[in-house]
């Protein structure tokens, strides 16, 4: 029996159509993946199906659940009754959706009591069982801040599922997670499916889509580009866009051609020990950054990658050891790219003004901004806008442009593409690699995505999970690191 049947779902903002009519069906035991980049309308589709669209948007179409039929966008109150009972939504970044002042067990028990209507004692017992089933038996009495990110996620899932809804919708469940955690989440979601439930996953993450399997819908700019069995689409994409998307997966990136780079040392760290809040993050680390080479730094979140960058840039004094800059370097020779480019620009200043300020400060020759704009394939019209009004990929390239105006010799890129979709990520990374090769720039590239690091780096620095020891300073060129 089909669990959910949504017919011709379309979303409008006034008269402007944001999502063209899409029909989806959800069969028990067969997950459905909706794949698309930011702004493709994939979240709108999910919200229209659940009846949670923002007030100013309007949906059209029919949603059929079992033998109930609802008009999308019209029957708000009717949709409300389904939440938690028929459809469960896994929140994005679930650790933010937990109540920080409530113990884990109580948060799950609350859902059992209020949504399912169990007696308090029974709800508590059921919550304990749920958490134990997730391997969280010991976490019942803990507060969210005492849980690791992965545990918090499982608690959130347990709470979302407490209502016993047969259909689970997960919106970007792996946003901001590293590869290991992503695999855990995929396994967890597939486990949920076990008892003939329905699973709908919305993501831009190709690896997740592949792990979930089932059926796939590729969305772009509010239009369905391709549908089919996930496995088949990945093996033989029909649409040009899907092909492009799959080719942009870090695993399919062409391996980097190491530049002729002069190999001069720009920066050297010796016996570097760093700690934050009493916890040792990095101990006795030696590394060298050379012109024209890319040093990839990878490891799970919270292992000290960003702190290492701050230390290399001279922003964080090391507990022991030292960072030695080449003596000829001017003070502004080391620049940084940020994970969230919007936060790295003055909020209320137009981008053009900011860039002009930088160009003037560094006495860049006239026309340097225009040259770089062309080189980074950016539209000069963007300069009139403020940082918040530009897409993430464009803004990251503008941040790169800004850094280039200072004529850096070293660039520390802290997860520069983790918030970008695959195609944009590939473009930004390719540009970084080209700059390293052509300008003799030394780049330290941080990413939780080991596949990406392996493809683009000349040398690799791997960190183990949170804690002290660094697994190994393994690189293709072992003489470089260590």
């Amino acid at each position: 029996m089909t669990l959910l049947h949504a017919t011709d779902i379309a979303v409008f903002d006034g008269t402007n159509r944001l999502l063209d009519p899409v029909s989806v069906t959800l069969e028990p035991g067969e997950p459905l993946v909706i794949l698309g980049e930011t702004g493709s309308g994939k979240s709108l589709l999910a919200q229209a199906i659940m009846g949670t669209l923002p007030e100013n948007l309007r949906a059209e179409g029919q949603v059929r659940l079992g033998n109930r039929s609802l008009r999308a966008g019209a029957d708000r109150a009717a949709f409300r009754k389904l939440w938690g009972r028929e459809i469960a939504v896994l929140p994005q970044e679930p650790w933010l959706s937990l109540d920080p002042l409530m113990r884990a067990g109580a948060q799950v028990a609350e859902a059992h009591r209020l949504v399912r209507g169990l007696a308090p004692a029974q709800a508590r017992m059921q919550a304990g069982n749920d958490l134990a089933a997730f391997g969280l038996g010991a976490a019942v009495a803990r507060y969210p801040h005492e849980l690791s990110g992965g545990m918090a996620q499982r608690v959130a899932i347990a709470a979302a599922r407490a209502g016993g809804a047969p259909i689970v919708i997960a919106d970007e469940p792996t946003k901001g997670l590293d590869a290991a955690r992503r695999n855990d989440v995929a396994a967890l979601l597939l486990g949920e499916l076990g008892q003939g439930g329905g699973l709908m996953v919305i993501t831009h993450d190709l690896a997740l889509a592949r792990m979930i399997g089932g059926r796939l819908i590729v969305l772009r700019e509010g239009t369905v580009i391709e549908t089919g069995l996930t496995e088949q689409v990945f093996a033989d994409p029909k649409a040009a866009y899907t092909r492009d998307l799959i080719a942009a997966d870090p695993e399919h990136l062409p391996a980097r051609k190491t530049g002729a780079g002069t190999g001069e040392t720009v920066l050297r760290a010796q016996g570097l020990t760093l700690s934050r809040r009493g916890q040792v993050l990095v101990e006795g680390l030696d590394l060298t950054l050379q012109t024209g080479r890319i040093l990839g730094i990878t490891g799970p979140s919270g292992c000290g990658k960003s702190s290492l960058g701050d230390a290399l840039l001279g922003l964080l004094p090391p507990d022991a050891g030292q960072v030695i800059r080449a003596p000829y370097l001017p003070p502004t020779a080391c620049q940084k790219l940020y994970q969230d480019p919007v936060a790295a620009f003055a909020r209320k200043r137009s981008l053009g003004q900011t860039l002009t300020d930088v160009a003037r400060l560094h006495r860049a020759p006239a026309g340097r901004i225009e040259t770089l704009l062309a080189r980074l394939r950016l539209d000069p019209a963007l300069l009139a806008r403020r940082p918040g009004a530009v897409s993430g990929g464009e803004l990251q390239r503008l941040a790169l442009l800004r850094a280039m105006l200072a004529q850096p010799r070293m660039l520390f890129a802290d997860e520069p593409t983790s918030r970008l979709d695959p195609i944009t990520q590939r473009d930004v990374i390719t540009m970084l690699a080209d700059l390293a090769r052509d300008e003799g720039l030394s780049i330290a590239l941080v990413s939780h995505d080991a596949a990406l690091i392996d493809k683009v780096s000349d040398d690799v620095q791997r960190f183990a999970a949170q804690g002290s020891d660094i697994a190994a300073a393994m690189g293709r060129d072992k003489a470089m690191v260590a």
Binding site: T332, A343, R349, L361, R402
Partner: protein, 266 residues
Amino acid sequence: MTTFSNTLPPGRAIGAVVLALMLGFALVGPLLVPGDPFAQSLMKSLAGPDSGAPFGYDHLGRSLWHRLAHALRLSPAIALAAVVTAGAAGLVLGTLAAARGGWVERLLMILADALMALPGLLLVLIVLAIMPGTAMGFWAGLSLVLWVEFFRLTRAATRSTLASPAVQAARLLGFRWPYVFRTHLWPEIAPLMLTAAAFGTATAIMGIAALGFVSVGMRAPTPELGLMMVELLPYWREAPMALLTPVLATFALLLGLTLLAGGQKA
């Protein structure tokens, strides 16, 4: 000022119009109808309006039109002077506390908290007793009370902005502190400061009037809103309009300032 470059939200626009009307009256009123706020004529005690005194006369036969215009110059002038002083002090000290941290911040916070623990009017009264000249005393006392608000706002906004990647990036690019202040800090602080300034002015005007009303502020015969109210209070039955004149003026002034301050999200 980006907040004011476009059209004002309706609440703020109304507030601005009310204030403009009040200040327009204070400045232009005595020019339209020439007269003296201090000239007494007991023959006209509590008399109704005439061509020389469009708002009528008080118990000593002084023109309310002129006394009100003078009162509406005095209180806002003192209040504005105090707010400007307090705003400047709060901005400098707040930025300093956020930027330097450590004992500088601790010391300033202790001072601010200590001042917050005292009732504002009491503090003004103490300063009034020390300072020569009532207007100077009000200015100094109100500045001392008001700077805490500006200090706290500036410190909070500056602290989060200084910790942002944007400021870190600007420093890495080689920009100096004046540039960082101008492009990163001030745009964040300015809207807060304007709101706090409007509320601060209202608080100051209210404080001056309150102390005048209990006869420990401005001295007679100075025309001052609170003093005028208390002087006319005994005659409320004979001349209710005379009493209502300073009350309505104070109300309109405070309403205008409050409307101007609020409505940020409207």
